[in-house]
Symmetry: C2
Subunit: 234 residues, 2 copies
């Protein structure tokens, strides 16, 4: 129970328990909220509140909410270990890196949404990951252009998959609602001329949380399979 101070009370110069703000501290606090309550809970107000100050104070250390988002994302990628490159296992190692990225993004629900609008990679960890993937693709025999395009597609798909997964698992959409939607879809399709959607009707069982990682692996395998074929033809 917070009780307001009597009017004659003066605060000490700086509350001992309140460390100096810094960019570092702002980002760390934001990450705490992100991990606990998801990206939508990370607002300037909420971060400021957690630091026992007002939103305006954050702008001294972070120029933007967008910048804060990027800083959080880069830090999260920093937690993902990169394997020692081994040219013979290039495809496996690419998969390993992307799996790590997904895992990290899922641990911070909704961060993928942010990754998303960060068009130009600037953070040091984003660069490290980009370079690692590119180097592996080149080691696999791809040209620079091919590696660039492939890296782009892989990162795009990985972010997309991670975002889908985090929306699904975090509270952003509740299971009951999704189930209802699925049922409505089935009902709708069944109400139409029989067999208007022969394939769609059989799909229900393939999409659930259990199959999520299978879908990811499948997509990677297909894409990397295509790449190997291309590299072999070079």
């Amino acid at each position: 129970m917070e009780v307001p101070n009597p009017p004659w009370h003066r605060e000490p110069r700086r509350r001992a328990s309140k460390p100096q703000l810094s960019r570092e501290l702002v980002v760390k606090t934001a990450l705490g909220i992100l991990a606990a309550d998801g990206i939508d809970a990370v607002s300037m107000r909420r971060v400021a509140q957690a630091l026992d100050t007002g939103p305006a104070s954050l702008y001294a250390h972070v120029s933007n909410k967008d910048e804060l988002d990027e800083l959080m994302f880069d830090r999260i990628l920093g937690e993902v270990p990169l394997p020692q490159p081994d040219a013979d296992r290039w495809a496996d190692q690419v998969k390993e890196i992307l799996r790590g990225q997904v895992k990290a993004m899922l641990a911070y629900p909704g961060i993928a949404k942010v990754a998303w609008r960060t068009m130009v990679p600037v953070g040091p960890n984003v660069l490290r990951h980009g370079e690692a993937v590119l180097a592996l693709l080149r080691a696999g025999g791809l040209s620079l252009e091919q590696a660039a395009f492939a890296g782009d597609a892989l990162s795009l798909y990985t972010k997309a998959y991670a975002y889908e997964g985090s929306v699904w698992s975090s509270g952003e959409v509740d299971q009951a609602d999704v189930a209802l939607r699925g049922k409505q879809m089935m009902d709708y399709m069944n109400s139409l001329p029989p067999q208007a959607f022969p394939n769609m009707l059989q799909l229900g069982s393939f999409f659930s949380e259990e199959t999520a990682s299978d879908r990811f692996e499948f997509a990677l395998d297909m894409f990397l399979g295509g790449l190997s074929h291309l590299a072999a033809g070079n």
Copy 2:
């Protein structure tokens, strides 16, 4: 110049120029704003304003902003023609459909962002597209599960690509800013131990609006290449 009516003036029963609201009209109006000013301009207030009413009135015809988003998206997909299926050209036809989807999404800047959180496809046109792609994949020799996974990955990637493209081209991020960011990235990389990022440093020229569709085609070719290989092995 709008002059307020004198207090004794009564409006006629219903302004002749103001047609009855309807779900149809709401969606159509929203699409107009979307096409003109992008998804972020489509707010309940803005749509209501365009219909010369208050935001509360829209809720009689649309239960949600989310529902409005879904309705817009489904309608946009409705504009994309589906080819007459030809089993021999299944891969080409899949590409054709996805290209159509991208084109439609780019015409309505930012709509891909919406497509994005629509986890369960319910709209009739979304279903039609899903069925068409699935049918082609099955015609290509894939099992139901393989087709399901492949369709999922393709749609995920297509939305991701379209979203990236629309952010790039619509005013959501201006070119000067992107260029600045790119330059900062280069400077940063050059400031590090030489050749810490040998591949990333050479990347600049591959990412621009001109290469966008090349990147899309490349990704599709790789993925479909992997699929064909899989189908051949079946």
